[in-house]
């Protein structure tokens, strides 16, 4: 008696095996689908076998039809209404039946496969309704079998989908499945807290890399939730710290920009008012001169901040000689002889602060070389010439400060390269000068022909 009960359909009925199962096991799903439906339809007339057929055999038949329909859809990779309907119709009947059946006589593997298939079909062909329909399928299976089976299939699907790099929008589906997992597992929180935490970590990562405006905040929120469930997760702890740091830094930069911009704006407008008052009340040129100096300092500070934050240049037509070079060289005139050619105006479109920063670094570099070489102040010469050359402006800085060490020549613009020794200075001067010029689509290099007792740098600026 027991033996008979445990016989599976293929053992009871050779027809099933030869007609249906053969093609099914050979992955010929279209044939197994047609034959299984035909088999099911004819079953009521099969008096030979009728009485031996049990509920679990119907479960097998429904499973075979649904799995075959999935096989066809999956193979063709195109949607067709007929097979779609077959799958979900027999999926439902399968569920209905196992709900009331004795699970010990059923294969859990088949239930897992069908649930997995259903999720796969929804992702492939009805992605827009994935969130709702996937939840329904999982819930059905959960009620009919148990939560362990349903949740383990779903969990596997979440991580499978995460790895399915080639599927367009795989990230979106992963997220939706993960959210369904959390929604359903919520009712069994005691048993699945480690799984839920893992899913939350995954969601945190997905959110973080989405790069939306508030991604970091959302990612942090997921990690924090995960840590509540699994407080000893080292991975999550570290992620939390990283995201938190990044958020803090970004917020501080934002705050800093906001506050300093407000202050710079305030300073500029106060200066403007002060200038107006001074112009009205006195003829005092020197107070106006001081104001102009303060104004220049503010602009320089703003320029340095823009440079440090790697901002794109703010191009303006400026008089390079009168507004940049002459004021810059003024403070060095006592310690070296600087000649500027031409001495009059020279208009060019540049970022005033970036060019100033580059020239300042180059002149400072020359001055330090003079000092290092112990060259008599009377003999120190720096010649700055401006010449337009084939739609470029060339600014040449030529000095007699002893020239460059051969060994350093090729690395002169690299960061932390300095002829002054490593520990003494940072060696960022020439590197910053290069960056500032390159930001303006220009170039800075050593002249191929270097003078015998000095060096020549060439800045090229394009129109």
């Amino acid at each position: 008696m027991m033996e008979k009960k445990n016989k599976v359909l293929s053992e009871k009925d050779p027809h099933w095996r030869s007609e249906v199962l053969d093609s099914f096991t050979k992955y010929d799903y279209q044939t197994s689908l047609d034959k299984a439906i035909d088999y099911l339809n004819k079953l009521p007339q099969r008096t030979d076998i009728n009485e031996a057929i049990t509920e679990s055999d119907y479960v097998t038949i429904y499973y075979t039809i649904a799995a075959s329909a999935y096989g066809v859809l999956n193979k063709n990779k195109t949607f067709d209404e007929k097979n779609w309907t077959y799958f979900f119709h027999y999926f439902d009947r399968y569920i209905e039946l196992i709900n009331t059946s004795d699970k010990t006589s059923l294969y859990p593997k088949n239930a897992e496969t069908l649930l997995d298939n259903s999720l796969d079909l929804l992702i492939s062909f009805q992605a827009k309704q994935l969130a709702d329909k996937a939840k329904a399928c999982v819930s059905q299976m959960l009620n009919a079998w148990d939560e362990k089976l349903a949740l383990s299939v779903l969990l596997k699907k979440v991580f499978d989908e995460r790895m399915d790099f080639k599927r367009p929008d795989a990230m979106i589906y992963t997220r939706q499945l993960a959210e369904i997992y959390l929604h359903i597992a919520k009712d069994y929180a005691d048993q699945y807290h480690a799984e839920c935490a893992a899913v939350m970590n995954l969601l945190s990562d997905l959110t973080y890399f989405e790069g939306k405006d508030n991604s970091e905040e959302e990612a942090l929120a997921w990690i924090e939730k995960s840590l509540v469930l699994n407080p000893n997760d080292k991975f999550a702890k570290r992620r939390k710290k990283d995201i938190h740091n990044s958020l803090t830094i970004n917020n501080q930069i934002r705050r800093f920009n906001h506050d300093t911009n407000n202050e710079i704006g305030g300073l500029q407008s106060n200066l403007k008012e002060l200038k107006k008052l001074l112009c009205q009340s006195t003829e005092n040129d020197s107070s106006l001169l001081y104001l102009q100096k303060i104004d220049n300092s503010i602009q320089r500070m703003a320029g340095i901040r823009r440079f440090v934050q790697k901002h794109a240049p703010d191009f303006k037509q400026v008089d390079i000689v009168k507004d940049i070079i002459i004021p810059l060289t003024a403070s060095y005139q006592d310690c070296m002889h600087i000649q500027v050619i031409p001495e009059t105006s020279y208009l060019w479109e540049v970022d005033c602060e970036y060019l100033r920063l580059a020239l300042d670094n180059l002149i400072k570099n020359t001055f330090e070389a003079f000092d290092r070489q112990h060259i008599n102040p009377q003999e120190r010469q720096l010649r700055i010439t401006l010449q337009e050359n084939n739609k470029h402006l060339e600014i040449r800085l030529c000095d007699n400060a002893g020239g460059l060490d051969e060994a350093l020549r090729d690395r002169i613009f690299e960061k932390y390269t300095s002829s002054k020794g490593i520990s003494k200075e940072t060696g960022l001067g020439l590197s910053n000068a290069l960056t500032a010029i390159e930001q303006m689509d220009g170039s800075l290099q050593l002249d191929e022909k270097q003078p015998d007792n000095g060096s020549t740098f060439i800045i090229k600026l394009s129109i």
Binding site: F79, F125, A127, K128, E210, G211, K212, D213, R254, N257, H258, D259, T260, N261, N262, E263, I264, G265, G266, L267, Q268, S269, N270, L271, K272, E273, Q299, A302, Q309, K310, H311, A312, P313, D314, F315, K316, Q317, E349, D441
Partner: protein, 337 residues
């Protein structure tokens, strides 16, 4: 100076020098300035009195009555009530998202508080902006009921980007539309007449702040709304100056190429551009924001709230927009199945 011009000035840090100086100098110019320091007060004031110009700060977190709120949301709100409301943003920093959102909500101007142009400080620039805004006529030129010419001009210095955007245009607007691709150099050498296009889209990672580039951009942008112009570039802090320049020249839309969903936004923008061709856009009122700001409206205004939103003209415009969206959705569905 017309002394009757009225301005509502909103900033949450009234004691800052830049703000007190700005208020003084605006008054000295003869403007009638009312000052508020919260967003709800700004929205209430909108109903209380007519203002020619609104000056809004963006970062309102200092005294915020709505933590998530900012000046751009107030701007959207105002424009949704009347699409000719003239709003100038006057901001300490703002984020990349704010700059794009402000442009897309059609601010009249965006002045950064630390901005300077030669002898002009940011307050001078603000006053200048107010004057040009006042002098901008209420109705747009070339108002037309004709359908847009079914041709898109794509300008880009990046071949890959032009190809991708051309594909997106075909996919979104269908076979009836054609695209023409040009590099900025080709365009500058021989700029075609704008009126043969329904849409002009200019896409490249960054725009230089050089006068020549800015002149080209300003020329292109001057044609909006016929054709509508779309500018796409990288939304990076480092590009603030060029992004704000574009925002100040009223593109129909600015697309942030750094945004992960920029392609989707670009295609939505194409649909919207066709729909609003030759017209000024109206936003759907953001009632959600309003409810979070907890404002109390004057009773009569509250009573008319629904009536105001179902204004015949606005409904017609919304319907147009919704039909376009639905059609777009239908196309989407067709593709997925």
């Amino acid at each position: 100076m017309n002394t009757s011009l009225s301005i509502l000035f909103m900033d949450d840090e009234p004691s800052n020098d830049i703000i007190s100086n700005a208020r003084e100098r605006l008054s000295a110019q003869g403007f009638e300035v009312d000052f508020v320091s919260t967003m709800s007060a700004a929205i209430e004031a909108y109903y209380e009195k007519f203002y020619d110009i609104f000056i809004l700060d963006i970062d309102m977190s200092h005294l915020a009555d709505d933590q998530e709120g900012d000046g751009v949301k107030v701007l959207k709100r105002f424009v949704s009530l009347h699409n000719q409301t003239k709003v100038i943003l006057f901001s300490g920093a703002g984020t990349v998202q704010h700059w794009f959102a402000a442009a897309n909500a059609h601010c009249f101007g965006y002045i950064a508080k630390d901005q300077q142009q030669g002898e002009l400080d940011s307050i001078d620039l603000l006053i200048e902006k107010i004057k040009t805004t006042i002098n901008t006529p209420v109705t747009t030129k070339n108002k037309t009921s004709l359908p847009p010419p079914s041709k898109v001009l794509l300008i880009s210095d990046d071949a890959e980007l032009s190809e991708l955007s051309s594909t997106l245009v075909n996919k979104t607007l269908g076979d009836n539309w054609s695209t023409q691709i040009m590099t900025p150099e080709q365009w500058a050498e021989n700029p075609p007449s704008n009126d043969q296009y329904g849409i002009i889209a200019c896409l490249q990672a960054r725009f230089s702040t050089r006068a020549r580039v800015q002149h080209q951009l300003a020329t292109l942008l001057a044609s909006t709304p016929s054709p509508q112009t779309i500018i796409a570039c990288d939304g990076l802090d480092a590009e603030r100056n060029s992004i704000l320049f574009i925002a100040n020249h009223h593109p129909f839309r600015m697309v942030d190429l750094q945004h992960p969903q920029w392609q989707q936004f670009f295609t939505d923008t194409l649909m919207a551009a066709v729909n609003w061709y030759g017209k000024q856009e109206i936003f759907v009122a953001d009632a959600d924001t309003l409810s979070r700001i907890h404002i109390t409206l004057p009773e009569d205004v509250q009573a008319n709230w629904d009536a105001e939103l179902s204004d015949e003209e606005m409904e017609r415009l919304y319907d147009d927009y919704e039909t376009a969206i639905e059609e777009n959705d239908k196309q989407d569905k067709g593709e997925n199945l």
